[in-house]
């Protein structure tokens, strides 16, 4: 009999430390996101225990069913939090038929507490920030994160400080302000806001910026999208997944989740999942690098209606390139017109009103099908990362207001007679 090694959980669960993705330098778990040696990104490492499907399935219907795979304390579900995750995986047969695909699923992240996947990452960042003694939760945001941070901080009873570009959709600004906290609108692009946040994080080392000094923990939250997809498919990996790319962290972490599940024996290792990235043409630095065969990403100045993806200098861009190349995927980009068409297609086929990011994702899937890079015969999952009600301005022009009628049967009959596809009656 060999020695039994009992793995123990700390206040960060089975997380064992931080390590630089570039040079491998290791650090204790703490509030640090960049390597002191090379500026590379730090990532949480684990000493994972043996886990079974049954243990996970017995957990709560939230991301905390995967608490053992996150840098959080074992009793995290009992702390005040927004309980994100365990969103629907919708079988999209109508959409599949429209696209000529065999089997298609939509991971519908509208079901989160503030209607986007950001509630997942914020919950994990908040857990780490609490353990590290922070009393202020902060972020630079393109909007969805702002909503999630403000809500999570309110529920946890701590202050939030949220920085957003001043030209953000009104729905996202209001949807942050309502939770109280400090909301600062900043002139310029998201990249300008992000720069300010990095400088502020250096000045206020008692603030937890979820996507700056808490970023190693925060990013781990996106793994739960991957875990859920696999569990909801009956503990198997989809052959193809299409993911929107802003900073790129979501795509990288979904791939990480799939690899962890394989390594833990919770899903079959092969065939693996081909991972595809989606960008808007008005902000496509990763797609451009993919096409050019580069492994570095040249920053761009964004100009697109998909504001939640408008990050011109994406932190995880190089790793997105690594993942899509390793898995046999691709990164492509689509125009604003294609984005609006795809938002409409998802709505009319499946009753799902997604935000501009899903317009990007679905339109990119169409484009990749047309180019033959995405296999129509292979089961595919696309991510709907947020809610269309937050990006109404982007589609308003495509849906002009209807002219009112009198409240009479005759007026209604007259209207019906002019309905497209119906011949007018004299």
């Amino acid at each position: 009999m060999g020695t039994t090694i009992t793995k123990t959980q700390s206040r960060f669960g089975y997380a064992s430390g931080l390590a630089c993705r570039e040079c491998g330098q290791t650090y204790d778990l703490g509030a640090q996101h960049a390597c002191s040696e090379c500026f590379g990104p730090l990532e949480v490492g684990y000493d994972l225990p043996h886990l079974t499907r049954e243990t996970i399935e017995a957990g709560p219907p939230s991301i905390w069913r995967y608490a053992s795979l996150l840098p959080v304390r074992p009793d995290i579900a009992e702390k005040p939090n927004t309980e994100p995750g365990w969103t629907r995986l919708v079988r999209a047969d109508n959409l599949a038929r429209a696209l000529g695909m065999r089997a298609l699923w939509v991971k519908d992240e509208r079901g989160n507490p503030t209607h986007s996947f950001k509630d997942r990452v914020v919950a994990v960042a908040l857990a780490a920030a609490t353990e590290l003694g922070f009393k202020v939760l902060a972020c630079p945001s393109t909007g969805n994160l702002a909503n999630a941070v403000a809500a999570a901080a309110a529920r946890a009873g701590i202050r939030s400080v949220v920085l957003v570009p001043a030209d953000l959709e009104q729905q996202k600004i209001l949807g942050t302000a309502v939770y109280g906290g400090t909301l600062v609108t900043v002139e310029g692009s998201y990249d300008d806001v992000n720069r300010l946040a990095s400088e502020l994080a250096d000045e206020h080392d008692d603030w937890a910026f979820v996507n700056v000094n808490m970023r190693p923990y925060y990013a781990e939250g996106s793994k739960t999208i991957g875990y859920e997809i696999a569990e909801q498919l009956g503990w198997r990996l989809p052959p193809q997944v299409v993911v929107p790319v802003a900073s790129g962290a979501q795509l990288v972490k979904i791939d990480k989740a799939f690899r962890e599940l394989s390594a833990l024996g919770l899903v079959e290792e092969s065939p693996g999942c081909r991972v595809f990235g989606a960008q808007a043409t008005g902000c496509a630095p990763v797609a451009a690098a993919f096409r050019a065969g580069h492994d570095v990403v040249q920053p761009v100045r964004p100009a697109t209606i998909a504001k939640s993806l408008a990050i011109g200098n994406p932190a995880d861009g190089p790793y997105v390139l690594d993942v899509v190349r390793r898995t046999g995927g691709a990164v492509a980009d689509v125009t604003d017109g294609e984005i609006v068409d795809a938002i409409r297609l998802l709505a009319v086929t499946e009753g799902i009103f997604g935000e501009t990011a899903v317009g990007v994702t679905l339109a990119t899937a169409r484009k990749l099908l047309a180019s033959g890079q995405l296999d129509p015969a292979a089961e595919t999952v696309i991510i709907n990362s947020g809610d269309g009600l937050k990006t109404l301005d982007a589609v308003a022009a495509a849906f002009p207001a209807a002219t009112p009628i009198r409240a009479s049967l005759a007026a209604f009959a007259e209207l019906e007679s002019h309905r497209p596809g119906k011949a007018a009656t004299a």
Binding site: E22, S36, C38, F39, G40, P41, A197, N313
Partner: protein, 91 residues
Amino acid sequence: MSVSVRIPTILRSYTGGAAEVTAQAGSLREIIAGLNAEFPGIGGRILDDTGQLRRFVNVYVGDADVRFARGLDTPVPAGIQVSVIPAVAGG
């Protein structure tokens, strides 16, 4: 004829904890060389072995990301602020 340079937390061990230091105006390359002369080793943290900006460092001259300007050849006139920032943030 000097410029001020903002130093990120992870490089402040080189500057004795100072968040802001001064350097002689010139090109960005000259400024980094000047910093390295005053704070030995700091240059190798900002530049890689081939002398290029490390891939996870952003440098701003005033409001401009130098990758949109002339990189290390970007001129830094007197009175302007240079800011060195870890690129791994946001999203």
